[in-house]
Symmetry: C2
DNA sequence: GACATTTGTTGTCTGTGCCAACATAAAGCC
DNA sequence: GGCTTTATGTTGGCACAGACAACAAATGTC
């Protein structure tokens, strides 16, 4: 599981730890295991944590008391010995995810058990003001609340921004798509809804989702690259942790300069990955006008005209160099490609891989795998929910 | 302080923590604080850890019992109240650092208190075999042992390799300067000396030193770039932790491709930072033949011929783009430049900074600082020693 | 049905850090 | 100098988290 905040007990130098922290740390670890597996047996918890049976019993009891997990009946049998009881994550704890898009804002309710229980799409102007997004979210939330049960609890809200987000101040630094600059949207929306709000870059959110529940599961060092209409975004996971940098702007992988080309990207930077590999150019080369994602994907895979093939090959070459740079910097286990980068990879994986390896240093290029992302269109909801649950997972006892 | 290994208690999901781990974690934190400050008062330890006075008393007592620290007299006065006693790191615990160079291998003994107590330089061939470096180290070590006292303890050895090191297997993947490929040098030297041996990339070692005791002190997100005869190496610290990647090859910052240039670097990769910004070209442009570091530095700073200035400016431009890429990827607090990159920066810092900012994304470019490195020619000894002490610092009680 | 195997529960124990009270050592004040 | 004030070290008792052992419960095996 990928951790957003390093709360790991006594992690940073200086702070000592007491018995209370010990308890919290163990509770947190246990809850994370249950969250990640949705349902898990107590005996598995025992063996995975290495803690004593009686301790697990005690800890699970506390989590049950906090109504964060529930114990269900044995279920699985067939093995010798007394069957172990199952522990399941609560199904009535919800995160609200907000995704502003063209023409509309999409708000969803995702349970801790991973279910998307309710969804509302509210029309907004093409370049909505912060207030207009707040309005839309408020309306959507009231609609969603009606669909939830009385016992359901909403614990927080996340917003996926396709731009730069200052995660320390919970504010949008710059978002060209929304035409926002320096908007303290976290505080704004939080005051309006009366709920804690976390905003984050969409690439980081998607990376979080993909690394925990998607194709990155089980890997500790991951690079995630997403190609969309807004450009190329992504995220980096190192030792199971999403890197954020000093302010949270880390991971602007699309704006890495690779060549001397004068072509510019969405931020006006020239010769970058995003400037040379983008959706519009591909759509144009394939004769498509504002295609859907899957439409573009099949067009890329089935392209036959020499011009289109040439352009696709060129983009693969540039992507290969971009990936090689990232391989040299991070020595990752796996690179995940999403959005239109996915069909680009599939169109000629051999070429991409061999050219990437050719530009990468010996050690790092040997083990690295390139894969397509596994999560579909709901990825921002999955990642956004995780962002919200993270606090709870890190500090279960505070949820009273 | 920068941690090499994440042992941070309950850090990775799954493993639970018991009271023993709690104690070890607190002991470790305390020892790290003493190590980092060389000498520190008990009251400072209390306030920095947040632990109780009596707990600190107990823990320090245990560290004294382990002979890892010693309590000295009050020393500092002037403030009201009973003066706090000082705790100092042991001065008789040593790390051996091995640095293979042209014509010789340099072996040093560095104490935990940061003192370089003994040093031996043994002549070796230009491209020594692993066995020849082992031989040299063995001879040097016996010389060094004579200079140490009976009570001095050597706890481990580190080797700084100017090449790719698989830190998992403790082996050299490839080192062009030594002409080694796939050499399990850690095991080799360890068997010969009967001491634990850790090998690592010189850039990582230098980064470790600079971030803990040098110009990176106090920063949590650091990029370190070193320019030497072998090319450009470096390291990256994120949230106080040196990134290693899957195998330990991370941080090959010199081999990032920036342009379409056909110039190749030491690994044969074209258009990379190292291919375009290197020592040989600078020396040649300045009319120097195999200059010393300081000689080259002053020549860069005092260059007057138009051709030399033009070449220097060109290199600054390329460096600016390289730094901008790193800024976009990592959103660091500070970038540290060492080796010949240092005078290059000083030659025209305004140009470097403005061009770097021009190619970087808005958020990240605002806070980032560029500084020159603070540690001098002993940096590999300082960092290498830290590598050796890391294990002890992470697990003080095991040192019995 | 007897037995082995695995898991959950309960009571006891150990050890770790906290706390309060006291002792100690300095500075400030008269 | 003697008093108070302030800050620190020390000591004994305490609370509580997790380990451990013994027992109970639930399943499979013969």
């Amino acid at each position: 599981m990928v951790k957003v905040e390093s709360q790991s007990f006594a992690g940073s130098i200086g702070r000592g730890a007491n018995r209370d922290d010990l308890r919290q740390s163990n509770l947190s670890n246990l809850l994370k295991l249950v969250y990640q597996n949705r349902t898990i047996s107590r005996s598995d918890l025992t063996s995975m944590t290495g803690l004593n049976r009686s301790t697990i019993s005690d800890l699970v009891g506390e989590l049950v008391g906090l109504k964060l997990v529930s114990e269900s009946e044995t279920a699985q049998a067939g093995r010798v010995g007394r069957p172990s009881s199952n522990v399941s994550i609560a199904e009535n704890i919800f995160a609200i995810t907000v995704v502003p898009r063209y023409h509309s804002t999409i708000v969803s309710a995702v349970s801790m058990s991973g279910e998307l229980k309710a969804r509302a799409r509210i029309a907004t102007p093409i370049h909505p003001s912060p207030e207009e997004v707040c309005d839309a979210t408020e309306v959507a939330l009231s609609q969603i609340r009606k669909q939830l049960k009385k016992t359901d609890r909403i614990i927080g809200v996340s917003v996926a921004i396709s731009g730069q987000v200052d995660v320390r101040n919970n504010s949008v630094r710059i978002c060209s798509f929304l035409k926002w600059t320096e908007v303290p949207f976290g505080a704004l929306l939080s005051e309006r809804l009366g709920l804690p709000v976390q905003i984050d870059n969409d690439g980081s959110i998607a990376c979080l989702a993909e690394s925990t529940f998607g194709a990155g599961r089980g890997f500790s060092d991951i690079i995630y690259l997403f190609g969309g209409t807004g450009g190329i975004g992504g995220g980096v996971v190192i030792e199971d942790k999403l890197i954020r940098g000093y302010r949270g702007y880390a991971g602007e992988l699309g704006h890495i300069r690779l060549t001397d080309s004068k072509a510019v990207d969405s931020l006006g930077l020239s010769g970058t990955l995003e400037a040379l590999v983008n959706r519009e150019q591909l759509a144009e080369a394939l004769g498509l006008d504002d295609p859907e994602d899957d439409e573009l994907a099949s067009a890329i895979l089935e392209a036959s005209s020499p011009r289109a093939r040439r352009i696709i090959d060129k983009k693969i070459d540039v992507l290969a160099i971009g990936l090689a740079n990232l391989v040299n910097i991070f020595n990752p286990q796996v690179i995940l490609l999403a959005g239109f980068l996915q069909p680009l990879f599939q169109a000629n994986d051999y070429s991409l891989l061999s050219k990437m390896r050719h530009s990468a240093v010996a050690g790092s290029r040997e083990h690295v795998q390139v894969r397509t992302a596994a999560l579909g269109s709901r990825i921002l909801e999955i990642g956004g929910a995780q962002l919200v649950f993270q606090d709870l997972l890190n500090n279960p006892a505070a949820s009273k």
